[in-house]
């Protein structure tokens, strides 16, 4: 029973972290591009490094949980 829960939880964590990882990478790249185009306008009120932290966390989680 425990092995079933763990297996399902792992699949969930793998899928969820993969989704958030991809979304964060896209967000980071688009915001980085926009920031460069707008003379660092974004960095004046939004820290895009937040996405780097999310990428590291979800990436680690995905590696640990992937089949």
């Amino acid at each position: 029973m425990t092995s079933f829960w763990w297996k399902e939880t792992k699949i969930f964590l793998s899928k969820a972290s993969f989704f958030v990882l991809i979304a964060s990478i896209i967000n980071y790249l688009v915001l980085f591009l926009l920031n460069s185009l707008s003379n660092n306008f974004l960095l004046s009120f939004f820290d895009i490094n937040v996405f780097l932290v999310i990428i590291v966390i979800t990436g680690t989680l995905y590696i640990l949980t992937k089949e």
Partner: protein, 502 residues
């Protein structure tokens, strides 16, 4: 519900939240960058740094930021303090909202810098002289008329034909009445001002049945790097019409050499001018010396500032006190400042004297009499004043109608018969005063970092020893909102601009 199903719902929730947050971030950034609704609000509330609004400066004129009853604020102890506002992209206007407490000085104003020379467009924050006035008041279109003895029921009647034999005070309202000197006679002699003056100056003159004839000589001090161009404008005072615009170029030396080149000269001769007052604006940086003015006009006064530099600091052939300057001034506040030891001196103002004994300090003289004679033995003084100054008594005249007086912090309102003002009192909120003012950004000067400098002024605060507290500076950027009609052209413009930039 089995565990698998719960996890499927959870996965769906994670995906929805992730997409929602991403979308919200993009919408927030889109709104912040493009400001499609034409309205962006930022504030500095003294609890921390603001990305758009700098802290107040210089610190020597301020008290430390402190908290009292939950409100963070900073005390101002001197007449002028400054802050910068970043303009993140194109906007049409900015509205500043200042929340403050002023227990002491009659007038508090806010100004926004309009040019490199450091001139400010000023607007009122509080005028206690007007707020405490118990005269009859009529108002139309934001303009208020106060009457000591009520005679006018309609403001338009007063504006179209203001009384000429009664004293009228103006506050942020300009009648632009034509000044006429009834017994004016033109002169056959040339007037020559052979004093070296540094930087920008404003001159008023008067003419009738004669040509406007001015020759301006300048040379560059070459103490600073860069080009030194003196722009010259002649403006008809009554309607602000620019009737001449020209310039004296740089002397060809843009480096720091300290070497003077031969004088450059510009002659202006304009015939067939209507009788009245004309303003000559000489605009340039502090690396320019106006060495001589020769004119056929014999009435000639300077406004706002005079920077006398006939001193051994600038000219090796001069010895201390060898070229003293006499001035004739009608001004209520005159400040003197020198930046060099050779400019330390004792100046006389009628029977009074003022010792300039410290560098880079503004020495203030308050004048409550009429025209006074000022003797400056050594020059090298930057003189700022609120009235007019001439180099001889015969050149002095008041370029504005004599019965119209600008209201200042030390004005005696009881001497007036009428007061006309474009002014509304600040609102009271939780024990603080709140006042908004809107500035057209096209008129303001932006530095290389796209900052506009603002100035809070409280004339006389330093002398009173009082404090004005500021608790919030809110800035609202404004531009026309994006509509269905203008959206396509805006997108095309944006793409064009981006392509040009890249």
């Amino acid at each position: 519900m089995n565990y698998k199903k719960i996890l499927a719902i959870l996965l769906w929730a994670v995906k929805t939240i992730t997409l929602g947050i991403s979308l919200a971030i993009f919408l927030m950034i889109f709104n912040r960058y493009f400001v499609p609704f034409g309205h962006l609000e930022v504030a500095y509330d003294f609890t921390g740094e603001s990305e758009y609004i700098s802290h107040l400066e210089p610190w020597q004129r301020l008290l430390p930021i402190e908290e009292s009853n939950g409100d963070w604020s900073q005390g101002i102890k001197d007449d002028l303090v400054y802050f910068d506002v970043k303009i993140p992209r194109w906007f049409q206007a900015v509205t500043t909202e200042i929340t403050f407490k002023n227990p002491i000085v009659p007038i508090v104003e806010i100004g926004a810098r309009i040019n490199q020379a450091g001139d400010y467009l000023t607007k009122p924050l509080e005028n206690k002289l007007i707020d405490n006035l118990a005269w009859n008041r009529i108002e139309a279109n934001g303009i208020a008329l106060y009457q000591k003895n009520p005679k006018y029921a309609d403001l338009q009647n007063f504006i179209s034909a203001p009384p000429q034999n009664e004293i009228i005070g103006e506050y942020f309202y300009n009648f632009n009445l034509k000044k006429v000197i009834p017994d004016y006679q033109k002169s056959d002699k040339e007037t020559v001002i052979d004093r070296n003056l540094r930087g920008s100056h404003t001159i008023y003159t008067y003419l009738k049945n004669e040509k406007l004839n001015f020759t301006i000589n300048k040379f560059d001090l070459n103490r600073y790097a860069g080009s030194d161009i003196l722009k010259v404008e002649v403006i008809k005072q009554v309607d602000g019409e620019k009737i001449f615009s020209g310039e004296l170029p740089d002397d060809g030396i843009e480096g720091v050499t300290g070497v003077f080149q031969p004088e450059q000269s510009l002659s202006i001769v304009i015939p067939d001018l209507e009788e009245g007052v004309y303003r000559i604006e000489l605009k340039g940086n502090d690396d320019i010396a106006i060495s001589k003015l020769i004119t056929a006009q014999h009435l000639l006064v300077f406004a706002r500032n005079l920077f006398l530099i006939d001193n051994e600091e600038y000219f090796n052939d001069l010895t201390p006190g060898s070229k003293p300057t006499n001035l004739f001034a009608k001004a209520s506040t005159i400040t003197f400042k020198t930046s060099h030891p050779s400019g330390l001196q004792k100046i006389s103002l009628d029977s009074h004297s003022l010792e300039i004994n410290e560098l880079n300090r503004n020495f203030k003289y308050l004048n409550d009499s009429g025209i006074i004679k000022i003797n400056v033995p050594k020059n090298d003084l930057a003189i700022n004043f609120d009235g007019f100054m001439a180099f001889s008594e015969s050149q002095y005249f008041n370029p504005f109608p004599d019965n119209i007086i600008g209201i200042k912090n030390n004005s005696d309102i009881n001497l007036l018969d009428y007061l006309i003002a474009e002014y509304s009192s600040p609102k009271k909120e939780n024990g603080w005063l709140v006042k908004s003012n809107t500035f057209d950004l096209n008129r303001l000067y932006k530095d290389k970092n796209n900052n506009v400098r603002f100035r809070l002024s409280a004339p006389g605060l330093n002398e009173t020893g009082g404090i004005i507290n500021i608790t919030n500076i809110k800035v609202t950027y404004q531009k026309p909102p994006v509509t269905l009609q203008n959206f396509p052209s805006k997108v095309i413009n944006f793409i064009k601009k981006s392509l040009t930039k890249s």
